[in-house]
């Protein structure tokens, strides 16, 4: 707990809140712009359209955003060569866990705020029906877990390499594969860690090429996909932690 508090102290002036607000602003502008182009017929399924678009935007924006958040938190240790000092007071494993917990708190705050903002957008836009709070909550929870899986990968890279280019290039690749994997067959998407944003979305789209009619429907994520997500997270966590713990500082 003390180490986690220290992580927040370290990131005091690193403009993490500004970064999260920028991510939120981009997503809001994107979603609102796309909503303004929909007619009344499309907006009959407003809540589903909103969550579907949000998953698509997340697949593009979140991989690089998570990479940047992880990089902001890990880069300072390289810049100040602080690990030599820190590891005389705390074990590397505890430091790694504290950084991961810091990422979990920041991402949870970002995604909760995001959920509240877009629920507000839906209410203001007067989407038909009640706010689907349960699905909104589940959507936020699932996307937090996916983001944490990506965060574990990015933290491993950002701590392993002093030069943040490696982590950032991985983030760019993630953003690119994240959106493109929505076009893949599901079997292939499961092999792409960033593809889980699209894979675990609670809304699916059905498009009829003859009538050109688009229809959204609710779905629950496959348990096997959730298990695979946990497996990916466990792999990134174990490898990243082992690399950090064994690293000579």
């Amino acid at each position: 707990m003390k180490l986690l508090r220290l992580e927040f102290f370290k990131c005091r002036r690193r403009k993490i809140a500004l970064l999260c607000l920028a991510v939120l602003a981009v997503e809001a502008v994107w979603i609102v712009t796309s909503l303004t182009r929909q007619d009344a017929e499309d907006l009959r399924q407003g809540w589903m359209l909103l969550l579907y678009n949000l998953a698509m935007v997340d697949a593009i924006v979140m991989p690089l955003s998570v990479a940047v958040i992880a990089s902001r938190n890990c880069e300072l240790e390289h810049k100040g060569t602080t690990l030599k000092l820190l590891e005389t007071m705390a074990s590397p494993g505890a430091l790694y866990a504290a950084k991961l917990a810091w990422g979990a708190v920041v991402l949870a705050a970002l995604l909760l705020l995001r959920g509240a903002v877009f629920a507000g957008v839906g209410v203001l836009w007067q989407f038909p029906g009640e706010v689907p709070w349960v699905r909104f909550g589940l959507f936020t929870l699932i996307f937090w877990v996916v983001s944490m899986m990506v965060y574990a990968l990015q933290q491993g890279l950002s701590l392993r390499f002093a030069n943040q280019a490696a982590a950032l290039v991985c983030g760019i690749t993630g953003s690119f594969l994240g959106i493109l994997s929505m076009l893949f067959p599901p079997a292939l998407t499961r092999c792409v860690p960033w593809g889980y944003y699209g894979l675990l979305c609670l809304v699916r789209m059905d498009w009829n090429p003859e009538t050109r009619f688009t229809w959204f429907f609710w779905r629950w994520p496959e348990p096997a996909d959730l298990a695979l997500l946990c497996l990916w997270a466990a792999v990134f966590l174990t490898v990243g932690r082992a690399l950090f713990v064994k690293k000579e500082v």
Partner: protein, 242 residues
């Protein structure tokens, strides 16, 4: 003097693995674009032109601006670390020339990236067995893409100069690419540097049209404005070496 500074910049980048990103990352859109083309042969019937539309789909908007952002952030990172600002600013060369060398190198990387994208496009076309002649406009698409890339490099060099960290300017590169998409959709693409990259490459442009004069004018204006602002910052701001 610019040439000597450029040689120094190239030397600084020696053994830097950043070129690997430029070599490997464009392979993804090429492979995926080709796969998407093969999966939609019923709809995509313009052979090379359809294949180009799939190769440039997403990549020019989200991926290339961020990739160029990584290179520009890399270039300033060299100065931000190891007390290098002190030697950079006390070199017996004007800051304009020092900055110019970085911009020329970034422009060279933009051109090389486009060349590699072109090679991958031709390879993919041959592999999928396209029989039509190669589009004669291809060098123009690539060259215009590179010119749009230079405007992006100007903006990214400015961001990475002002923000003394690696990650935020790269994220802003991605945001710029997304904003470029919105701005292009609103019809203001020629006025925004990040839109120039996709406009130049004719991404999402089935008619493959481009108004060359406003495009070149806008790219030159943005590059010059960013360069002048960067040089002004270099001349006036005190350096803080780490």
């Amino acid at each position: 003097m610019l040439l000597r500074c450029l040689k120094a910049e190239v030397l600084k980048c020696r053994r830097a693995p950043v070129w690997l990103a430029f070599l490997v990352l464009p392979v993804f859109p090429a492979v995926l674009g080709t796969g998407n083309y093969l999966g939609n042969l019923g709809l995509l019937r313009d052979e090379w032109y359809s294949l180009w539309s799939q190769h440039t789909l997403f990549s020019s908007m989200f991926f290339l601006p961020a990739l160029l952002g990584v290179f520009c952030a890399w270039q300033w990172r060299l100065e931000h670390t190891d007390h290098n600002w002190n030697s950079f600013m006390t070199a017996p060369v004007s800051v304009g020339t020092l900055y110019g060398a970085k911009l020329v190198l970034a422009a060279g990387m933009s051109l090389l990236a486009q060349g590699w994208i072109g090679v991958l496009f031709l390879l993919s076309g041959k592999l999928v067995g396209l029989t039509a002649p190669i589009p004669p406009e291809l060098p123009e698409w690539l060259l215009c893409g590179a010119v749009g890339g230079v405007a992006v490099c100007g903006a990214q060099l400015l961001l990475s100069l002002v923000i003394r960290a690696f990650a935020p300017p790269v994220a802003l590169g991605l945001l710029g690419g997304i904003a470029g998409l919105v701005v292009t959709a609103q019809g203001w693409g020629y006025a925004f540097p990040y839109s120039l990259l996709c406009i130049g490459m004719r991404a999402n442009n089935p008619a493959m049209e481009l108004d060359l004069a406003p495009f070149l004018l806008s790219a030159a204006a943005w590059t010059a404005a960013c360069a002048l602002l960067s040089v002004a910052i270099l001349q006036r701001r005190d350096v803080a070496a780490e």
